[in-house]
């Protein structure tokens, strides 16, 4: 089948109804409907760029009446491709066994996968596309039978004439359907008739993940491919002073890369091990040696005290209300840089021939990869083909382009196909880290312990400003997300942001600003509850008066986590609630054996309102994963810098939760027919504050600086 691309702009973001231009149908030897998924792009939003307006997703009906659904996004492990396929299959009236998914066709335009967006932004467009296809197939059948459309129904890849009981398969109808115009307003399947949405359909990508057949970026093999390993200057800001000579031992080329150098050989090992005995000469400027975490702390403290700060949220006159408060309480919190630590290290495979440049990459942003390669090769975008592979985690790191650019440069230099890989030490040492944060919060309470004034000042490097997406020093919504628009009754509020310019490259980490702001808000609310002499759950309920959505989630977590039941001796329970990416999550953490160096996290009860749930088991898995992510970071996660060098080089000094530390996680999804909201990230934010609140009950110690146990962050092979 030929794939016809279009440059035509299409309207996007219309919640109801579609226009014909939103779909393009081709059918030279079958049926293909092209449509556009918006995905999400913080970058595009920040830059004021329009949402993608090119066809980036497709539904193809095959001769055997099955469908392949091509999505312009990627599978990071979150189950998004399966979830989207469920939506399409629902409307196509196909059985779950009749659909397969693929990421975008090589020459199409992709959308960016991030921001817990896969389902929440693509839910309606995918359903509409599936419904359009189903409608056209039914229309084609009705036309062939010369019967009214309303007399025909579709199911399991067949259209049935309900009067004569005649049946035609989708495969049989595909060619005729392709000649029809897509409906302007396809009808969606009614809620009462949903077969797949809301059901835990088995994920389509898992069978190949239990037998070694799944191909991640690092597994790509191209004929006559060479292998490249990269080593960067250990100090941030340093550059290669001179290109090392070829050390032999199988190395076929040494390629300078500015702040790094690549060894190219016949195997990954020959390339990696070439660095072992090698002295590499780096230019390390004085400014690099000044990159130091103690300096960062001083800078942040100064900005906190002296500004400049800009307002992020102003409601009423908090200063005046604070002055009149019966009781004022404040606290300062600090958070470290964090690594992404995706299990699959950064890698990219590039083949450049006379026909163009072909790239296989684990990437959350294939369209950016195309642009990166076009800029380096001088080739037009039409000559750059990007294959998005499965990813061994992305977590925001695989949006970046650094490893892509290196692979293209090396392939250009050696004039052969190359798979470039970062050894784990490079992956930790040259991450785009979760920013450090200093946060100060102050609350004024009246005589009844109501919050009459709330002031929160957040000092942090801005991811967006570092990339030039927003001007330096301006309010950065990502740094303050989760600190503004709080659900609690607070008479006045002042949330301020202080930009802390940092030489450390920073990036998007699971739940971004929510990952620390929720900790500040939710542990401080606990402190206010103690001042009020009220249990923190009860105190929150009071502050959430009339907020039915939050109360329902909070109560569900409390019930699931037995919050109000007697606590076994030596145990304690903490609770926290936070909203991220439209989803409200509350978690109850039960702990025991808390000391100054460890704690046993026994159970985590998690209640979630993420709107309509497409695949309950997938959402549950995302919550379980988010909780583990949040727990590893809370207990041990931190990276510091000295002389421009990151303190972490491998998993042996970046400890993560493993089997023995895994709490028993239970998840309750609140039923909802509201539009779906995010699932990938919202499980993270409430974990750390719920843990800290439990830890306080057991030890009397308030944790205001993460991680809990920075001296316990090594991990052996035991």
């Amino acid at each position: 089948m030929s794939i016809e691309m279009t440059e035509e702009a299409v309207p996007v973001g219309q919640p109801t109804g579609v226009t014909r231009r939103q779909f393009i149908v081709t059918g030279t030897s079958g049926f293909m409907l092209q449509f556009c998924l918006p995905g999400v792009s913080r970058a595009a939003a920040a830059l004021g760029a329009p949402a993608p307006v090119k066809m980036n997703s497709y539904i193809v009906i095959h001769a055997n009446s099955t469908a392949t659904i091509y999505f312009g996004g990627c599978e990071l492990g979150q189950g998004a491709m399966s979830g989207l396929a469920q939506l399409a299959a629902e409307e196509l009236m196909l059985d779950w066994s009749q659909v397969v998914t693929q990421t975008v066709l090589p020459d199409s335009i992709s959308y960016i996968t991030g921001g817990s967006s896969a389902i929440r932004t693509n839910y309606l467009p995918v359903r509409q596309a599936g419904a359009a296809v189903r409608t056209m197939l039914i229309e084609a059948a009705a036309a062939r039978w010369k019967v009214p459309v309303a007399q025909c129904t579709a199911s399991n890849g067949e259209v049935t004439d309900t009067v004569s009981k005649r049946i035609l398969s989708y495969g049989n109808l595909a060619a005729a359907a392709a000649k029809l115009s897509p409906p302007s307003k396809p009808f969606l399947v009614a809620d009462a008739k949903l077969r797949l949405i809301g059901k835990s359909m088995p994920r389509l990508d898992l069978p190949d993940k239990v037998n070694g057949r799944a191909i991640y970026g690092i597994d790509v093999r191209v004929p006559n491919m060479l292998y490249a390993a990269v080593k960067h200057c250990p100090s941030l800001g340093g550059t290669l002073a001179s290109t090392p000579g070829n050390p032999g031992g199988g190395v076929v080329a040494v390629v300078p890369l500015g702040n790094a150098v690549a060894m190219v050989a016949g195997t990954t090992w020959d390339a990696m091990s070439a660095f072992d005995e090698m002295e590499i000469s780096w230019n390390i400027p004085a400014s690099s040696k000044a990159i130091d975490s103690t300096v960062f702390s001083t800078e942040a403290t100064t900005i906190m005290a002296q500004g400049p700060v800009v307002p992020a949220e102003v409601i009423g006159n908090a200063a005046s209300a604070m002055a009149g408060a019966a009781k004022v309480h404040d606290a300062t919190y600090s958070f470290p840089y964090l690594a992404h630590a995706c299990m699959e290290v950064l890698n990219c495979t590039v083949s450049i021939t006379a026909a163009g440049c072909e790239i296989w990459a684990p990437t959350q942003a294939a369209a950016w990869v195309q642009g990166t390669a076009a800029a380096l090769t001088g080739l037009p975008l039409s000559k750059i083909t990007v294959h998005t592979t499965l990813m061994g985690g992305g977590l925001g790191r695989k949006i970046e382009q650094d490893y892509i650019a290196q692979a293209v440069k090396v392939a250009m230099a050696v004039k052969a196909p190359v798979k470039l890989m970062w050894p784990r030490e490079e992956d930790f040492g040259k991450d785009m880290y979760r920013p450090m944060v200093l946060s100060h919060v102050k609350a004024g309470l009246d005589a009844y312990h109501r919050v009459v004034a709330w002031e929160n000042r957040i000092v942090s490097p801005s991811i967006q400003a570092q990339r030039g997406w927003i001007s330096a020093g301006s309010e950065d919504g990502q740094s303050t997300e989760g600190a503004t628009s709080l659900p609690y009754a607070m008479a006045t509020r002042l949330v301020q942001y202080g930009a802390h310019p940092s030489p450390v490259p920073i990036g998007f980490w699971r739940s971004v600003g929510h990952s620390y702001n929720a900790f500040v808000v939710e542990t401080f609310i606990d402190e206010l509850a103690m001042i009020a002499g009220v249990d923190p759950y009860t105190y929150r309920r009071g502050l959430l008066i009339n907020n039915e959505r939050y109360l329902a989630v909070l109560d569900a977590a409390a019930t699931l986590g037995d919050y109000t039941s007697p606590v076994p001796s030596g145990h304690a329970r903490g609770i926290a609630i936070a909203e991220a990416f439209g989803t409200v999550v509350a978690e109850v953490v039960e702990i025991a054996n808390a000391t100054s160096t460890s704690v046993d996290v026994l159970t985590v009860a998690c209640a979630v309102d993420c709107g309509r749930v497409i695949n309950p088991d997938s959402v549950t898995a995302q919550m379980q994963g988010g909780i583990v992510h949040g727990l590893s970071a809370a207990l041990w996660g931190h990276i510091t810098f000295a002389n421009g060098v990151a303190s972490v080089s491998n998993f042996d000094n970046y400890r993560l939760v493993r089997m023995p530390e895994m709490p028993a996680v239970s998840v309750h999804l609140l039923p909802s027919t509201n539009p779906p909201t995010g699932a990938g990230e919202p499980g993270v934010p409430p974990l750390a504050p719920a843990l800290a609140n439990a830890y306080f009950k057991l030890t009397g110690q308030r944790v205001r600086s993460l991680p809990f146990f920075p001296t316990q962050s090594t991990m052996g092979d035991d």
Partner: protein
């Protein structure tokens, strides 16, 4: 030339040094990419294979050491790629997320069940592999399920 018995098939491989880790011979020379690179220092366990039935982190096992021994990788768990009890349990309980660490997890679990058909929680805790997605709870349940299959 080194002769390697992988999943019952003998392969003759040419390596620059007998110290070349088995991991990279499997992946780059034999093209068996199911075994994954994670850390290169025997900590994360993504590269776990069975050597003579014992789980080994093959990122630091020189290929010379593996010569003449029985190597089993995830590709060799079952002939059809789905019928090993662990594979069945893994799918039934929808264990993987990104899936990258799962080859190593499966091989550790296979070794565990071989030696201990009814493992207790404390036995499962001995698996010290890293899963960044946090699938531990499902792995635990799937091992117990596989023990009944």
């Amino acid at each position: 030339m080194i002769a390697l018995n992988v999943n019952g098939v003998v392969h003759e491989v040419n390596v620059s040094s007998n110290d070349t880790p088995l991991l990279w011979v499997l992946r780059d020379i034999l093209g068996m990419t199911g075994t994954k690179y994670g850390c290169g220092i025997e900590v994360c366990g993504a590269c776990t294979v069975l050597i003579d039935g014992e789980p080994e982190r093959c990122c630091q096992v020189g290929v010379g050491e593996a010569q003449g021994r029985m190597i089993t990788t995830v590709e060799g768990l079952s002939a059809d790629g789905k019928s090993h009890p662990l594979q069945q349990a893994w799918i039934q309980l929808q264990v993987p997320q990104c899936g990258y660490c799962q080859s190593g997890m499966l091989m550790c679990a296979a070794a565990l069940l071989q030696n201990n058909p009814q493992p207790a929680d404390s036995d499962i805790d001995e698996i010290s592999n890293v899963c960044v997605c946090g699938t531990y709870q499902r792995i635990r349940a799937a091992i117990k399920l596989a023990a009944t299959l």
